[in-house]
Symmetry: C2
């Protein structure tokens, strides 16, 4: 069996968890679902341990986030944290990590995972990963598709084809489908649990397979990351990254590679996945009392239901909500947010307003 | 013209402004209406300055509030701040202050005022006070009644009789009326602007007149305060207060004296009075933007109307309210409150819950 490396994409700049998320403290560095102190990124690395030890984990993040990222996962060596000087979407990110791993072990199998998702059933997750790794080892670039639980319009889908001969749980990918409208999403859901799966951004491949795909479909990106990796041990390594990386084509791995590739495989997964897309998701994932309130131990909800009440401040204040329901109330060290749960996505309006008024300390 | 003294009743322990109000920081010590730093008590003393200089102001407060009270009104000498060892309602409070003033100036006219009300039109207020002082100087114990603006069931009323001969703006008091039910309150309002007035707890009298009334109707109280005042310059003065004051009959000046007295006068007043009874009142009195929001300069209200958003913390956090209307959102140093404006009175439920769970640091 080949060695498996994990590439964790941790460049997200999410604004949907303001005031907890900031430019310098994006979603993956926050303890949004643990009810404790474990950040989403730390949970992602921990969940892989049975399959991928920390010394085979590569994290790609923004240059400005590198130190906070290193603190969040101290078991990952700092030289395995790749620092993007500018965001170029996922294709250059994955190509760079893949080229880096090719230097370490040209026979490796690589899994690419987002850093900021929640997994409810970790044992089931690990079984699906093992199946996807096995599929990738046999040759096909493989993805994991999430079995849908609702007619979601916020995700891309993967249309699933026939089982692969000798492919275990893996099946053919017919095509990647962009985010659908409501009617199409309903059709997808009605088609049954194994026809359309959610694209959760998880990819599994042999190093050499990805190298070939990038060279063929994104030659600019392939050439750039090869020059970056060739200079990786030179004293000027960081300068080379800063010079070359921002010139690479900014394109997602889905559009730049996957939609053009042939012979892809997909392993269906059903393991309590949640992309933790907003405070609404945080409420869904949090322990709740019989009235549906998820509140801190010191907080009070009186005559109210289904509220998410949480302090993430260093010195949490007691939050009292009286006679109000379905609200998100969040405190951080410098801000307080009150928003109806169903409008949680509109937190971006606050971020926009703060940007417009130049209040950078709150961004 | 006789010298006028003011007695300011500042013993309130209001819980209706939690988390801003606390046992050790009641409503009158808070800057609830100024939009700045002036407490309600400080505003009360300042408003009197044209009529009563600070060296003729006597403040009655709780022993545990004396130091904070002295800090709030530094222009009032500490020995003019009377310290109640236990609350005994307004009759013993006024009787003690009256007996104290009798020692200083037996010919004085005294006005008694609450410490925690808001006055919108200060010039009109001062004109009404001058009329009430003139009436008291002529003999009758005089009150100021507020011209009602709505059928309020939360206040007592004063039924107004004929004008007093030679009494200026003063009229006869027919009787004091306890808080009415809704139907009676509607009747009172319908009777016209000069038939039923709100009892705002403002009284004006000659020192000797109040001394006589207390001796006649509350002899226990009269005897007690005379012994307290006789010992006022002794080294044991504080001990005497602590021994005697808690034994005095706990009764309001309205029930204990005014309802039994004859020949009372009332001066109608219309000067933007507000008793600042809850966060709802604070919103009513605050400057509001075109959408009805009263928010701090650094706060953000996006897609919401008629909210009261205010930080009273030493280091205010930015409060962002998105997609919500008619809420009160208040921050202090150790707590955050979110409550619909129309339920503002239910803040007491928080105080009750904190008491029940023994969280004294928040009370």
């Amino acid at each position: 069996m080949l060695d498996v490396y994990a590439v964790i994409m941790a460049g997200g700049a999410g604004t949907r968890f303001w005031p907890a998320s900031r430019a310098a403290r994006p979603k993956q560095l926050l303890p949004l679902t643990s009810g404790g102190q474990e950040s989403l990124l730390a949970a992602t690395v921990r969940r892989l341990e049975p399959l991928v030890p920390a010394d085979r984990v590569v994290i790609v993040t923004g240059e400005h986030l590198a130190e906070a990222t290193a603190r969040a996962v101290p078991q990952v060596a700092p030289e395995r944290i790749l620092r993007e000087p500018a965001p170029r979407n996922t294709a250059p990110c994955i190509a760079w990590a893949n080229a880096t791993i090719a230097e370490l072990d040209p026979e490796a199998v690589v899994m690419v995972l987002p850093s900021d998702h929640f997994i409810g059933d970790e044992a089931a997750f690990q079984r699906v990963l093992a199946a996807a790794i096995a599929s990738a080892e046999r040759g096909p670039v493989t993805t994991v598709g999430i079995v849908p639980t609702r007619a979601e319009i916020g995700y891309g889908y993967i249309e699933v084809g026939a089982p692969l001969a000798g492919g275990g749980d893996a099946r053919q990918v017919v095509r990647f489908v962009e985010k659908p409208d409501r009617a199409r999403a309903e059709t997808f859901l009605a088609a049954g649990p194994s026809k359309y799966l959610w694209n959760a951004g998880m990819f599994f491949f042999r190093v050499s397979a990805m190298t070939d795909l990038v060279r063929r479909h994104l030659p600019n990106v392939a050439g750039g990351v090869e020059r970056i990796v060739a200079a990786a041990r030179a004293p000027t390594a960081a300068d080379v990254v800063r010079e070359i990386f921002p010139t690479l084509e900014s394109v997602s791995i889905d559009v730049g590679v996957m939609e053009k590739a042939e012979g892809l495989a997909v392993v269906p997964g059903d393991f309590g996945w949640n992309d933790v897309g907003s405070w609404e998701s945080a409420w869904e994932l949090a322990p709740r009392d019989t009235r549906g309130n998820a509140a801190g131990e010191l907080d009070l909800v009186i005559d109210g239901e289904r509220n998410f009440v949480r302090s993430l401040a260093g010195a949490p204040k007691t939050i009292a909500v009286v006679g109000a329901s379905d609200l998100v109330v969040v405190e951080t060290d410098d801000a307080i947010l009150v928003i109806p749960r169903e409008r949680a996505q509109d937190v971006r309006l606050v971020v926009d307003a703060l940007k417009a008024s130049g209040r950078k300390n709150l961004l």
